[in-house]
Amino acid sequence: MHDPMFIRANLAVALDHPALSDDSDTPAKREASWTVAVALGKARLFAASLDELEGVLPYSLALAAIAHFNERFPEWDEQTEQLDTTWDEITHPEEADHLLISTLRDRLDAWAAWVAIEELRQRNPTLIPTLDEIELRLESWDDGLNVHSDLIATLSEATLVLGWRNALVEPYRSDAPWWLTDEIDRIAHRSMETAVATMPNSDFWGVVQRRAMLPDFVPGPVLAASTEGATPTVRTMTWVHTDRTWRARLDYPDPSNDAEEDRLRR
């Protein structure tokens, strides 16, 4: 039995939710229906075996799942819109990854639920009302993710994302969002190149390396010449090599008169 993601087990638990037997339309029933739609859709996306649970999403659950999507969408949309500002505020890299992963997981769930609902609509087009608005909302969500592609691409080597990418089957693999294709690697590579282009170049690091070979600057003459408790006044002499690749600098105590200054300079 092929089910490396335990989708069948998740579907069994979802179908067992007591809220599904409610006659009335409740938030709990809508959420439970959504969970069933997600599990069923994931079984299609990742070719999981469902055995005796195999079937099409029941009509009442599809309507309840759509209602749940419409309820939750503003929150998901807002979270996506604020993705960069939230990411910037996060201190721990693990939390930053978690924020991005949970955003992608929500979008993947919506894709899966959509696959399950669409499967029902294909069998009976008149059963489900027009889904234009939902399709547009999903597109808007994707547009929102596209805007943050540089951030999302930081997950290009994340185990979970690689797992999703590898497990997708046709025809869904060909229709996958960019973050589940090679495109995420290309964006990550491009982002890295952009970052490197704004970092100090090899000339800069050459100077850093030469500085690192010298001892740390200690204002010895100043300390030696100053009297205890007094704040020394410092003068600086700088020599620059003719090819401008080497510099020397000397900080010294302010001479008491011109003759001493002249003697120091000589």
């Binding site: 229709d175 970092m199 401008r244």
Partner: protein
């Protein structure tokens, strides 16, 4: 009686649009001829309502956004399924409002990134002498106070990748490293960054991977953090002066 010219246009043209979409050989040029004007009209109206600066330019984009095929997908217009005159208008308004939102979202993110992109000349065009001048003197107290207002992660990452940590007095740098360790609950070997980081290679990219490993994140995450935070370095007098001198030199 409805005097709205767009309603009248759509009522007249809607059956032709629906018929074209029903044909496998539907000509995009024909759809453009039928819908260009109504889409522009609706887009300009929505752009003004949403406060989009260049409504005409947005309208150009909206025409393509509705009628042009997208990557892996057909044109949005093929998603209009409930094919009647009034539904076409409300469907178009719904799509164009989504396009307007996407347009504004992209502008907002672009504006947030613009400042970081302008940092580039600081490093790229500086002469050896300017770099030496930059590195020879420690940060002044005002610069240290400014850096002290940044989150400790940003301090360590930006100063290491920027090659500037030696400008921080050793005791202050050590305190910041301790703050980092306390915050992240993760030790950093001393000296930090290690000598190997300094002599890692000539280019910046060779330093990202080892530093990311030391700081417990992926190279992609570290480079993205640099892209998003490094513009704060320009708050520092020494870099601001360098940047301004390069900008002036560029203008001359």
């Amino acid at each position: 009686m409805n005097d709205d010219p767009i309603d009248a246009q759509l009522t007249e043209r809607c059956p032709k649009v629906a018929a074209c979409l029903g044909e496998p050989t539907c000509d995009p040029a024909f759809l453009l001829e039928l819908l260009d004007e109504p889409i522009r009209h609706l887009a300009i109206s929505i752009a003004r309502h949403e406060g989009i600066g260049d409504a005409e330019e947005f309208a150009d984009g909206a025409v393509f956004g509705v009628l042009l095929a997208r990557k892996k997908k057909g044109p949005r217009i093929t998603q209009w399924t409930n094919r009647g005159p009034q539904s076409l208008r409300s469907w178009l308004e719904m799509v164009i409002r989504h396009l307007a939102r996407d347009h504004q979202r992209k502008l907002a993110v672009a504006a947030r990134h613009l400042e970081s992109l302008t940092l580039t000349p600081t490093w790229r065009d500086a002469s050896m002498s300017e770099i030496a001048d930059l590195l020879v003197a420690p940060f002044d107290t005002h610069e240290l106070a400014t850096i002290g207002t940044w989150k400790v992660q940003k301090r360590i990452e930006a100063l290491c990748l920027g090659g500037l940590w030696k400008k921080v007095p050793p005791t202050v740098w050590e305190n910041w490293l301790r703050d980092w360790e306390s915050e992240r609950q993760r030790p950093l070997a001393r000296p930090f960054p290690p000598e190997s980081f300094v002599f890692e290679g000539d280019d910046a990219s060779s330093r990202i991977t080892p530093l990311a490993a030391m700081l417990g994140m992926s190279p992609n995450t570290l480079s993205q953090r640099w892209s998003r935070h490094s513009h704060h370095l320009r708050q520092l007098r020494c870099l601001r002066e360098l940047w301004e001198s390069r900008s002036t030199a560029g203008e001359n």
